[in-house]
Structures are given as C-alpha cells and as structure tokens.
Symmetry: D2
Subunit: 462 residues, 4 copies
C-alpha cells in the first residue's frame, strides 16, 4: 500500500505536496519522498521515516519549482531498504522521468527479465523502476506515445503520478483497483490517492481519474486519453472497509458513510438484542460501531481509550508484564464495562491474535458478555494488487470454522457480515468491486513468480 | 502540571516506573526523568522529550535497584531548561534525596530567599529543589521527623513522591489539590498521579493518599502519618473537566463517568432541540458529547477526524494556507456535516481562538447551524496551584460577555454549564473542590511574588 | 582522487577492507563504502563521511562473507552526492557486479551517450557506473571475456577493483596512471592503492599490477592476462610529490625516500647559503625539508606546530580575526623564528594563496628572511586522469612569472625544482612518468566534453 | 588536567573564548564549556566532547555579552559525567558566580564535609563547586573581600578564572603549580593557561599571574592583590616535559626550546655513538629528538608516520590483528628503518606498555638496534596537584629496575635523563619547580582522603 500525490503548476508545489503526503500518511509509514522540478532541474528528497521526519523547512525550500510529486510507502517485509523509496527518478533518452506508484504489477517479473536481457540494470525491486525502464526502451520518443506504449504492457494494479519533463501525468490501470482523484487549487491541478489530501491543501475535488484513463497536465491545461481497454471495473472494496481515511471520499463516495452503512447492515443481519452497549475496537471499527449502535438503538460507548503517545521507539517490556502491548495502546474503561453485555464491533479479522488480546483485556475489566460483530465477510484469499495481507495460511478464516474462531478469540458469539450485505451497504453498484480477498474472484491472474523477484535479489544494505 | 510515579520494593522498579510515566504522559510532554536506587547507589536519567524518547532499553537496564521514582513535566513558558527536569536528586547531610513534585508552592520565593541567605545555592527554579534545601537545613536528622519538619513549612499545592535513603515517601498537601493514589503490585507499593498508570503496570488500586497525609514505604510495609492540619478539602475540579485521562479514576471516582454526567447535565440546562446531531471537538469533548447525545436523544457523530500523525517536528506551512494548523489536526467529514444543525460540545474555553478556528472549519465543510455547549462554567481566574492557565487577561471569559464570545467564536448560540450544574454532575460532594478558576474562591492566598523567582533568574542555557 | 582496496578469500574480509580504507583515508575524505559477498548474497554499506564515521561494529558484522572491496572518495565540486559513492553495485545479465574505481575515463561522455540511446538509465555521474553498463551490454556472457571486452573500450585512467560473482578482479589502464598493488594475507590476495594499506592489515607486499594487466582472483588462486595494448608507461609523478602517504611504496618505490631526494636535489639546484635553518610547511613539505636540511648541512626545525584537533565541524570566526584559518592549523613557534633567515620548503604551489598566508604568519612571528624552495616545477596544466586540480586559470604558475609569484607570496626569494631535477630524484627511469601537469605532455588526449556530463545532470538531492 | 580562558571586556567575548579553548584543547578532550555575561544575564553552554563538537555558530551567537570564561576538561576515571563539566555557575547571596578551575585542592574533602553540615547541597564532585559554596558562606559580602576570604581557605593547586557579577578574576595558588598568563586584545584583558591561546586569538602576552596573586579585571582596568602567603615557587615541571603545547610559553619561557634543551642534555649524558639516526616517538618526543640529533650530529628522521585520521569513534578490530592499535596511529617507514641503529627519543615513560608496543613495531620494520633515551628521570610518585598519573603501583619506574624496564620494553639500551640534567636544561632556576613525581618532594601534603569524595558519591547518570 502506498499514497501518491502531485501538483502542477503551483509556486508552492513541494510544500503542498508535503502537506498532501502528510494527509496520506496512513497509506504508508515506512518512507516518504518528494521530487520537484524547476526549469530543467530536478530536486529530490526521500528517506525512510514519517513525512514529518523526512522533511524539514530546509529540505522544502530546497525542493524548488512549480511541479512536484510525492509518495508515502508502506512497509513490506524484506524490502525495507533505502533504495526502495519513491518517487523513482532517472534521466533517460526520452527525458527526465520521476514516478510515484501505488499498486502491484502482476507481470513485473517477466518485464524485468526481458529488460535485463537487453542490458538494463535494476537498482531497486520496485515496480516503478520497471515502468521507467520500459519507457527508456520505447520505440517512440514522443512523450505521450511513449507513455501509452509503456502502460499498455503493464498488467495488474497501478495508480501512478509521473513527471516527464514538463508534463505531469496521472493514470489508473484498466480495472481501477486503486483510487486516484483530480483536484484544483488556484490554477494548478492536483492528483491524490484520497480526497483528505485535497481537503488539507485546500484544493477542490474535481473528479476521479477513470479506470484505464491517462491524464496529461501541462501549463496549458489537462488532457485525457483512454488508450487502455477496459473490460471490468474492480475497485478495491477493502479501501472502504479498512484502509482509506474515514474523512476521505474514494471512488467518488464517502468512506465514513460507507462504514456506518456497514455497521447498520451488520445490526440488521446479526443483531445483539441483549447488548447494554455497542463499542468499537478503536480506531478502525469506530464508524461501523456508530452505525450499529444507531440502527440497534443501543448506547454507543468508547469502552477502550487509545493512548495518543504510541510511537515507533517504544520499548518492549520484558515478559513479566503479559498483554502489555495490548494495554499500552488501548486501556479499557472499567466503570463503563463492568458487568455489561457488549456488542463489540471489528472492521475485519486478519490473523485473529489482536482481537483475541483485546477481548481478554475487556474480560479482565469486567465485561459480562462479549458479542463480536465484524463489518465484512471472512478474509480468505491474498491480495495481488497491493494490499499487504499475510499469506493465505496466516489468514485465520482461510482454514478455520466460525466456531473455532469464536473460541479462539474468546467471545460469547461471533458473526461476520455477508458478502451480499457488504456489497449492499456500498455506495457503488456491486459489480464495480474487486472482492477477491473474500471470494477468490481475481479479476486478473497473477504471474506465477509474483514474489520471486524479491527473493532472488540478494543484496542487503547494512 | 506534572505526573509522578514511584514503586518500592520491586525487582523491575525502573521499568515499571517507565511504564507508569508512559501512562501519565498527558500530564507533561516536555521532559521525563527516573531515579532508582540499588544498595547505596543512586541512578538517574532525565532529559527533555517524551518518555519514549528519553529512555531506551540501555538506560532502563542502567537504572538499577528495587526503588524507583519518576516524573513527567509540562512545558511552562520561560523555564524550558534541561536543569529544570525532575526528579531532583542530591546528597545531603540527612542522606540521599530524590523528589518528584506535582503542584505549585505559594511560598517558594520566601523559602528560597531565606535559604539563600544561609548560603544555599540553587541550581534550578523548581519547587522540588526548595523542598530538598529545606530538608538539608532540618534541625533534626531523623528521616521522618525531618520530612515532617520540612513539609510543615510548605504552603500551596504539592503531591510528591520522594526517596530518602531506603524509604519511599508519598504526600499530599492539606487541601489535596492534586491527585495521588496508592496501588499494589506483587509485594510492592506503587504511587501514581492517576489510576491509568496502575492499570498499565498491572497494579491493583488500594486507595488515594488523603489530603495532609504522608506515607512512608519501607521493605517492612507502609506507615501513614497526618501531621499537616487539614482545614478544607479543595481537589482541583479541572482535573475532571479536562486534565486527567478519561480511563483514570482520580479522587476516587471515574473521570469518564464524570464527563458523561457533565454532558447530560449540559443537555438538561441548555438543550439544542433543533440539532440533527451532537459532536465533540475531539478528543477532550468526546465524553461530554456522548452524554449530551444520549440525554438529548440525538445521534452522536464524529464530525471531525483526528490525524494520528501529529508530532512535535511538524513544519509550519507559510501563510498562504490559512487555518492550516487547525485542519491538519482535525479534518471535518463533509458528508456528515453538510446542511446539518449541530450541537458542538467543548469541554472548556480558554482563549477562544482554537474554538473559533474549529467552527470556521465546520462552516466551510457545510454545517448549517452550530450551537456550542461548554461542559463547565466560564474560566475567569488564574490557577496558583499547578494548572498552567494563561494570565487573567488572556482568559476570554474574564473580560468579555457571553454574546461577545459567541460572536467571536462564530456560533449560532453558545451556552456554558452553570457552576451548580457542574458541581451537581461531580461524583464528590460539592464542597470538596477547588473551583477558584471559575469563582475566585482561592483556598489559600498566593504569595505576592509568585512568579518573581523565575523572572529574576537570569541564566540561559544555549 | 580515490583509494581502492579488495581482499579474497578471507573470513574477516570486510573488517580488513575497513582497515585498508582507513589507511587510504588521505586519498579521499568525502565518502566511503564497502561491498562484501557471502554465498550468493551481496552486502553493501556506503555513505558520505570519513571511514570511521561510515562504519561501526554493527555494519562491519553485517558485511558478511569472504570477499570484500572498498572505496574512499575525494570531494569533487558539484557532484557531492550520496548517490555518487562507491563501490557501485548492481545485478546484471552477466551476474552480480560491484566496482571501485580510481582515475578518470576520458571517453566517459561518449560511452554514456551511446549506452543511453540503447535504453540504459544512469543513476550516478560516476565512471564506475559506465563500466558496469558496458559489462551489461557485453556480447559475451563469460566473465573474463566480458571484462576484457568492456575494458578494451575504456580510455583514460583506471585502476579498478571489481567483484563479478565469485571472482575478484584488479586492473590498471595501459598507461598505468594510478597505482594498484597486490599483497598476500594468510591465503588471501589483497589489492590496494598503496602499500600503507598492506602494512596496516599485516599483508605482505607481492608486486604492483602492471599497466594494462588484469588479474582474476578466485579461491583457486590468481590468474593474470594482459589484453590491453601498452604503448607507454605514464605513472602519475604527483603521487610521489604530494598525494601518496610518505610511509607507502607506490610504483614499487618508497615515497619517503623520493621526497627526501627531491629535497636534496633542491638544495643542490637552489641552495640558501645564508639560511639559519630549514623548515617545512607541514605536513606535506616535511620530508623534502629533511632532505634539504641534510644536504645543505643546516638545522631542521619545526617552525610551525600543527593543531591536531582540526575537524570538519570547525566554525569560521567572523572577519574580525583575519588569517584565522591559517593560524588555527599551524601556529608559528616565535622563539625559533625570531630574527632567523629561513629556508622554507613547500612540496608544490597550486593557487599560491595558502603559501602566502603561511608566509605572512611567519613574518608576524619575527622571521627575518624567508626563502621559499618548492620541491617540484611550476604546476601549469590541469590533470585529466584523476587529480582534482583547479582549472588552468586558477593555477598560479600558468599565468604568472616567477617574480610575480614571489612577490605575491611575499618571500625574499622563490625557486622551483627543475623538471630534470625532479625526474632525476625519482626512483624510476624518467620516461615512465606522466608529467603533463608540468609540461603539457598528455599521454592520451581527453575527450572534448570531459566535464559536460556532470554539468548536464540537473538533479539535486536536498 | 584542564585548560582555562577568560576575556573582558570585548564585544566578541564568547567567540574569542571559543578560539582560546580550541588552542587549549590538548589540556582536556573530555568536555568543554563557556559562560558569558551580558547586562545582568548569564549564558551557559557546556557538554562532553571536543570544543568543535560542543559549540556551533548558533550556540556562540547565544553566548552574549562582553565577559566570557571557558574551560576544557581532561577525562578522569569515574567522574565522566555531564554534571562534572565546567565552568560551574550559580546564583548566590554575593551575586552571580561562574568559575573555571585547573588544579586539585588537597583539602577539598574537609571543606566539602564542613559545608555539607551547614546544609550545602553538592551537585558535582568538582573542586570548583567547593570554591563557590565557600564564597556563598563568606562572612563578608563585598566581592573582593569574599574572594580573598575564600581563597585563603584553599589548599593545593588552583589556577582559576572566575566571573563574579561584573568582575573577572584570575588567580594562582601560592605555589604556582599550574600556569596562567595575562594577555591584551584591543581594550580587553585575556587570561589563559598557555600563550598558544593568546597567539590564536591575536592577543599580546603581558605577563604571567604570579604565585599567590589575584587579579580583578573590570571595565576600569586591572587590579592586583597578593593576599596569599608565598613560601616557595613550585611550578609543575611536567608541563615542560610533556603537557604543554610546544608552541606555548609557560611560566614565562618557551616549551619548544626547553624540550630541545632536554634532548641536547640527554645527548651529552647518554650518547649513542653507534646510532645511524635519531628519531622520536611522535608527537611528544619530537622536539627532544631534534635537540638530541643536533647535539649528537646524527641525522634526524621521522621513522614512524602519524595517521591524521585517528578519531574517537574508531572501531577496535578483533584480536586476529595484533598490535593493531599501535600500528594504526604510527606506521613505521620500512625503507628508513631497515638495518639501522636507532636512537629512539621518548619524552617520558609512564606504564611502559606503549613504548614496548612501539619498539616491537620498529623491530618488525627491520630496525637493527634500538637505543631508547628518555628526556626526564624515572616517574615514581603520583601527582596530587592536577596531573592525572596512574597510582604509584602502575608507574613502571616505581617498582622496577632500569634493567628490568629495558628488557620489558625490548630495547638494546635504555637511559633516563638525570634529575640534575633535567633541571639544568630548564629555563628557570631549579628551585622554582615541583619535581615531586620524580623525587617525592611534595611542596604541600595532600589530605588523607584525597579520593574519598569521589568514591563516596554513589550517583550514576545513565
């Protein structure tokens, strides 16, 4: 998972990109980068860390120019490496290229191998570098034609923001897996993964880039082409369930309302009539819990309080303090929980271990009954389009029954929202979504060696 | 404001103190320190920064021994200085002393001046150093007698945790301004400002230290004396309103429930019949808003979403982005707010500028009507007992009418909870509280030169 | 200028490389890097800074394996950039390649441009990357053949240490501009720019790599080929004059003795009969001054004492203290200088400004007469083979007469060693040297656009 | 050992103090500090590290005012602690006091204990704090009288620079153990441990402060009093032998010349007729070696070359590389040493282990005979006046014969300069020196518990 942003032309381009990335920080906490352009000069800054760590006043002043793109990167096991930060920048025979990419190419290994045989040297394991090498081998040098030629050869998920000389380009793959929207700020166009980034920089939402669409932004305005054959829209439903910020609109609709609707639908499908209160597992379950409580007509309470000081540098205490990690993030409010029957709302269950720990804490704080309700169906299949789920083996629902999971987590009852219920609660018509992680219906087949590239890379920065 | 913690005797004393301070971080973000004791050796670590920045595995291992006390410090203008970190430690003729102090002595300037004339050299501007110099001048050397002799000369607010050789001491002034409770973990006694610290370290709540009480904790157990004349209990009501964590019990009662009660009382006193929804200004108004919504029977919504990545290193954007600081912390959820009539719940109003900015943001997001309800009376008087309010001049309610403030903040209506309503919502009987910041009823007169000491200190660390 | 080092096979390969680089630190203070190899895995660490800053115990432990090469880099204006650190590492169709390069290719721009048209993307402005791209385009994949094919296309100066899969390779261009020697440590072969690196790691000197020679080091031993046509030996004489460490042997001979010989020759050509003492401008003039004093039979004194604490972080004082930078490095010893007639020995004069400042300081300390003697001829021409001289314009001797320079520097007399004298003092026969910086006799013509590559690169890391 | 500096009144006071400390860095590498004064405000900066690490442009700008004193501190085992940095600053009943101290009080324990009984709290283990506490207990408040009263109670070695409100004070104990001189820069007076600091800041040397003298520097000028009874001058001879910089004058005479004289005397007393060359163990033996070579009429050579990059962060290589630490600092020049008979000049021998390692290296480089000559007598007794020698036990000459030491070090012959020879080579008449470390003739008896104070301090910063 990643977040991408771009703006052109604006005098404060890099500063606005910084703010945009700040708003998109939840899409990637591992690394951040900005590339800007002034005249024929390109300025870069990227590093591991949060946006607020990577940039300071001095670096922002140094990132000159009126065009700027940025990227925040999610941690993926094994490739946590300074070189694997974006945007990826290079000079090439068709000009200066910088690219920020969100998604996962399913034919990257094949492309990589073909290009390597032609003498290409890869510096990173990122899909974005593959795209740039393709561009450097384009049979045509004219920018828009080269872009089109290269994008036609990509398979899988890609929402990208790209600088090619004095053109800023935005594009989504033909399935529209990942979000990307267009905004307007003064005379500039803005590209962003989610609308919360537009809100923060004060830009007005214009529209989403459509699946298979490429937009070219120049000083003269915006131009759109749709050279990629669109067979089916398959927007990632998990963005609504968990990933996007609640105050964003994605794929054209409010995430907050989608989540509340999921909670309402859940109250209809799987009510907890005896519950004294409904409470979320913070923060992601909050909005579904609000919907559940309103639909069920029971009080909404914040039964666990989040510690705002959790940071990356926190020291693990030794074993004598069991369940410490759980407690330090969320402290149960005993007076609220003691003797109560609770409808506990989760957004989703991946491995089940976190849910189990939370439930244990609630029991210790005196909860009498705990009825867990999950606002999506069981997660059973991995994602090949950019969500960093664990392997199928590790997804608890892929190999255990509902009863087993209920007992493992330690709740009095456990119910998942149905696939139909989930789709009914969504703002889009149901065939617009990719739901492969729930029902194995992959819109595009992944290449066989999807993860081979990373594994065969034997270099380690120390 | 500060948070204090102590534990003795426990093999993991400093590590548990670290966790206790972590739970009390909201009481002071400026600096943190721990002093521990093993045999006759004393170990210290204190520095500016958050608890998680100041300590790491290595420092915790270095803080040896079975006795440990700790402190987190709130930023106070003008004295943000590495020397002004606590615990304050020194050798003296009565032995090794380390002290962590929460509160504000009203006769510190007088004590300081008298001691200086006797040849005492002050290293800091902290009340805790004054207490230690007093101890070093005690006419009696026996620890308990020296402690009693010294504490009898202190005026104002002090909750302290103190190490004197192999004794750990906890004490509250005779008015009981600041909280301090006793817990039990294995065979050790724990002292903490709030119960959330007991929860995190897994300690069991025993009782609060009483106003005017001093407890001496040794390996043999706990001993209590009450040498300080108690005229009146005057616990700080603002701890319930704003300062303490919602998941804590202080002065023996739940903060969460107190805040919900304030919200319910507010809904009775000042309903907003036409409201479509009730929402808090996060995070402090959340619990009063829950109470308000439940009492009023209207939906509770989270109309502004908090950004979890706000850190200390954040760069100020230039002026072209107005209201940025407000937006970056809390982003309004447009789809929830558009066209709505809102009951907006604040816990308190100090200068009014933050409320004003929030309201502006809500208007921009489409809110139709905004009715602000404040869960305490107007703040009109400064605090001399440890809450870092601005001067009287800067308290908006001390010089402006309700109508003026309503217009300044920009809401359609504005109402404060009454003093009687506030006290009625409290878990304690009403004459147990200090409400001086609301009604000028100071339990103990401040010294004339309360702030002179800091001003006359002319040394600056660069 | 750069220093290079390699060792294979040795269990402590990276640690020994670290020590080797430490010994070669004078050849490049800007950046340092090590690449090691264990099994099929490659480990990297490179960064800007001194060797002792770039590596610590943890990084050395992380640099696993029995093959290791390293590089220290000299600062060159305009390309001081984290990406421009060596060794340069990449995967390619012929295998894993890492390279450390000392020298300057004269046809790099042409090679770069040809490769770019074939789709190659350049990450850096370093010659070493050009060599690797060439290797990736080799028509043959067999390692030794590919190496030979690529090296045949290089023009200019290159001493390189290279890892290609499980082979370590050392090579010098056919003119032998830069030094590179072979040593033996236990069962391992060592490659190093100077023998001081062999001394420090305890390796035994075997021989120099010959001009135009390539050696392949495997676990089975060492193999040598000489595929590059050798027309003339042109070893850099400036390595003896100034650059190499006095305790090294380069091109097979002692630098210390060469410098003493230069001083003796200087005393013969340009004696200072009236001198009370001979002193160097430390540290580089020390050995020539020793030779001068011995040949002239006058006392050798250390008239200026070097401050050992000069570091990179030193703050410039404001203008009120003139000549401060000069004084802080070298303080004159007044009692030694007062009223004396001095033979002042310099190794070489580049811009003349430093010499001028030193002389001024000596005058202020009371020196009566100062007769400067320079242990090489006037520097008049730039170097295209790796010495970072300023442009011709900035070389004081390229545009001024001896008298003018004498007056500029402010000495009573000034004499340079003659070209013949310099060559006579050298341990090798005279036609083995490149003396182009003195007499314009460039052994190989530089490409026209020698510096264009760097200039046209418009990207800046901030 | 420490270095001290002060200047008043000068607009660039702190910046000049910074430069002065820079020149005195060899007197203490552990910590550095500056205190300045502007109006009634005092500015401080002190920290562990070299002068160039502790200060930067920003801190120097922050150290405002026209009066400034500074201190560099030598590492002493067990008290390496941020609190034990100087200058020590405090407010007191007689005013603002800051003090920088060089030397060692022999009655500090007694003073400390008396003051503690009066209620004084000690923050550090430094003699300078003791002096300040004394000042705060002065029966008279008038500054000059208080200073005189306090200094009269001190025993042992103290050269101090002190700020007391708007007066800068310099003083030396009545024996004159440690150096302290007065200089003039513009209209300001400068105080410095050695004249090399005057040289660097461009100040003119005026005179040394005399033993037992106190000078008071105000805007009006300088005033001198001599209230301390002077019985005997006992300046530290080891400052000439080893400690001071060769380009300094101390106690009124040139260190460089003193060292050369020691070498000449050594050549007379203990010639090495068969020697091919004389060489120093760098850097401290260099000047004696020059004198030796000149007196003996044999060539002076630099047989070991010093590595200029030795820094604090250097990593210890593992044991497989024996003698590495020795080699990394000084690399022998084989071509100079091979087959040679060497007169090897040492300034002094403390434990003998370093000399032994050097000799081993020279043997390995091919030296045929090594005749060590030491430019002072055997060191047999500890110093109680500020030189950080090891205990008597560890001084090799205190328990072993000349023959034993010769064999331990591994030289062919070993001779020390005689006590009479050493004194004869000195610029002062011989009864002006403290030579206790050579002949047990302590001018003032140390207190019994000289080191108890440090030991009984049980606090540790982690």
């Amino acid at each position: 998972m990643c977040g991408i942003f771009g703006i052109y032309p604006h005098k404060q381009a890099s500063r606005i990109t910084y703010l945009g990335l700040y708003a998109l920080q939840h899409r990637g906490e591992e690394a951040a980068g900005i590339v800007s352009r002034s005249g024929n000069k390109v300025y870069l800054r990227k590093a591991q860390g949060l946006v607020s760590d990577v940039f300071d006043e001095k670096t922002l002043v140094g990132l000159r120019g009126d065009m700027s793109i940025g990227h925040v990167r999610y941690s993926t096991t094994g490739s946590s490496n300074i070189k694997n930060t974006q945007p990826f920048y290079t000079k090439s025979r068709i000009g200066d290229i910088a690219i920020a990419h969100n998604g996962n190419l399913t034919n990257a290994v094949k492309l990589c191998s073909d290009l390597g045989e032609k003498g290409s040297l890869f510096q990173t394991t990122m899909d974005s570098e593959v795209i740039v090498h393709l561009l450097a081998h384009s049979p045509v040098k004219e920018p828009k034609e080269a872009i089109t030629w290269a994008f036609k050869q990509l398979q899988g998920a890609f929402s990208v923001v790209l600088m090619l000389n004095d053109i800023m380009i935005g594009a989504r793959d033909s399935f529209g897996f990942r979000p990307l929207c267009i905004g307007r700020l003064d005379k500039a166009y803005v590209l962003a993964s989610e609308t919360c980034a537009l809100d923060l920089v004060g830009a007005e939402y214009v529209r989403d880039i459509e699946p298979g669409e490429i937009v070219f932004i120049t000083k003269g305005g915006i131009e759109s082409i749709k050279p990629l054959a669109v067979t089916k829209c398959a927007s990632c439903i998990f963005e609504y369930i968990y990933f996007a910020r609640p105050d964003s609109n994605i794929f054209g609709h409010s995430v907050y309302e989608a989540r509340k609707n999921l909670g309402k639908q859940l109250a209809l499908e799987h009510p907890v009539p005896q519950a004294d209160l409904a409470m979320p597992i913070p923060d992601s379950g909050t909005y579904a819990a609000l919907g559940f409580a309103q639909a069920a007509g029971i009080p909404f309470e914040i039964g666990m309080v989040r510690n705002h000081y959790i940071g990356r540098t926190f020291i693990q205490p030794s074993q004598f303090l069991r369940d410490f990690r759980v407690k330090v993030k969320l402290n149960p409010v005993k007076d609220i929980l003691k003797g109560k029957r609770i409808a506990l709302i989760e957004d989703s269950i991946v491995r089940g271990t976190t849910s189990r720990a939370r439930v244990k804490t609630l029991r210790a704080a005196g909860a009498k009954e705990i009825h867990m309700r999950v606002s999506c169906p069981p997660l059973c299949y991995p994602c090949f389009y950019g969500i960093d789920f664990p392997t199928k083996k590790e997804l608890i629902a892929s190999k255990h029954t509902l009863d087993w999971i209920r007992d493992f987590i330690g709740v009095d009852s456990l119910e998942y929202l149905s696939l139909e219920g989930m789709l009914a609660a969504m703002p889009l018509v149901k065939d617009k979504f990719c739901t492969a992680c729930y029902n194995d219906a992959y819109p595009v087949k992944p290449g066989k060696n999807i993860s081979k590239r990373i594994l065969e890379r034997g270099s380690v920065y120390v």
